[in-house]
Symmetry: C2
Subunit: 337 residues, 2 copies
Amino acid sequence: MPIGRKDLLMGAGAAALAAGVGPAAMAQGQGQARAQGQAEDGAAPAQAPGFYRFRLGSRVVTLLHDGAGRRPNPTQGFVRNASPEQVAAALQAELMPTEHLDIVYTLTALETPEGVVLFDTGTGGQLGATAGQAPANLRAAGHDPAQVRMVVMTHFHGDHISGLTDAENRPLFPQATIVVPKAEWDFWMDDGQAGRAPEAMRNAFALVRRKFEPYRERIRQIDGAAEVAPGIRAVPTPGHTPGHTSYLLTDGGAQAMVLGDVTNRPELNLRNPGWHLVFDMDAEQAEATRRRILDRVASDRIRCIGYHFPFPANGYVAKEGEGYRYIPALWRGTLEA
Amino acid sequence: MPIGRKDLLMGAGAAALAAGVGPAAMAQGQGQARAQGQAEDGAAPAQAPGFYRFRLGSRVVTLLHDGAGRRPNPTQGFVRNASPEQVAAALQAELMPTEHLDIVYTLTALETPEGVVLFDTGTGGQLGATAGQAPANLRAAGHDPAQVRMVVMTHFHGDHISGLTDAENRPLFPQATIVVPKAEWDFWMDDGQAGRAPEAMRNAFALVRRKFEPYRERIRQIDGAAEVAPGIRAVPTPGHTPGHTSYLLTDGGAQAMVLGDVTNRPELNLRNPGWHLVFDMDAEQAEATRRRILDRVASDRIRCIGYHFPFPANGYVAKEGEGYRYIPALWRGTLEA
């Protein structure tokens, strides 16, 4: 009883149905989030929800996909100190396209019985329709964003802070304390820095002020390598921004490092830790930080979460040649470590 | 308002709750499957459901995690023609343990408006408690296993055929036609082969007969490079077993290769295509097949699905040095290609 061509060709109707399951549809709130992982027979196929959990000692870390932004022409000016040919060769070695680079976003949530500690907030759907899915994925993982207890920031770039509020600047985490690195706060909130900023950065300063404003009573600054809470320690990693900060999560002997933007896509920045990407505000300092942190996580075999790593964005770093290689952690269907 | 140690330490109660979300619980049927991707605030955290979709032209391919089996001492006799030191070095280079090897299982489902075409069936939960999740994950993806229209077999090893029936040998795909490679059928169903088989293989012959028996009226044999259905073509890949067969899925210009067991874990068998794993029944033939297929999918950049690749088990093969390197496809939160 072979099945025929009619059975196998998905016609225009099915394709149109499937096309409805896009980022916009996925970000439309809890009902939609609940539906995204499940398609009834006959309904449009839907992608699995974008969360992934692993154990860290007795705790649970949940990674949340926010989507991706597409940057055109990554061989042209994206890496300041490499030629277009070098960048193209690096992309081609990883079988990646050279016409565009998908910069993916993954948030980290540390789950506690008292609530969720969230690291960074994603784009909030305000940097294009192909991202902004993190709140829906947090709901799919069983948590209401409105109940998040603490939001911890690595730095204040738009793809990390935009999700603090909606497009009308209403806070999306009304119960949360917002933890910010003091050096990052001092830089972006300094009126002198804002006034001296080149035209192209004016919007970035304005965005920072706007996004934190609704939380002004709930900001907690941390200085240097502070303990944010038991088992969450700040690791200053400046360069990408003046106050960029990573966070080491520990429980018993288990460790995981929330890298933030110490590297961008690992295919570029781990292989070539000396490459200066346009996003790094102090490229020399960023490189020194990157080499120091990558050496530490490789030597100590610390599980890493990279904000711009391919989802589920967690794995290990191995030294290889002059650089490093990213080794994704094995995906597991249960909450084994 | 920092949160305290009490908030962050997950106590024994939470750990016990979380421990309830194991493979057994995940395989308990539709209700459980629906629940596995979602945890309400305060409930036990649950892993995301183990399915992943990608577009293939106008069609949709869904990958289904079945779990993993743990093999002890992979450096001892697992690779017939490599020393323990060589195997240990290969594992260590990938930051994998040397004491055990987790052999993961991923099924492929091609979705059509008329029903699902499933490639292989997993362990059915009959080869240990850490696998057997594929039916639950198929349900999580929106499909009832009882409605599967066609099951296509790559070969007849236990981790591929056990899921055809439950422990009482009741068929789990009662509506499905079962497509089998003729060479594979002829070998395993031959009474002479069964009679001459060494003691260690007797159970394998018995299992094949038992698993296919409930489907005896619904078996369809295909010979060589046959078209299984439009867009599904058999690619004979003998060696791992006498009739081992891969399947090339096509739609328009899009291609994906269901490799089956042309390789085991890519960290071993892609890096070292000449390694003879104990599972390969004709190791020389398996090596020749592996080199031929890997060269083809690397040269033609064909997206591959490996039964024993880390979930979601789809990606590309790049030539590197004397072997190949596996490059997982970028995980996407929507059904883009």
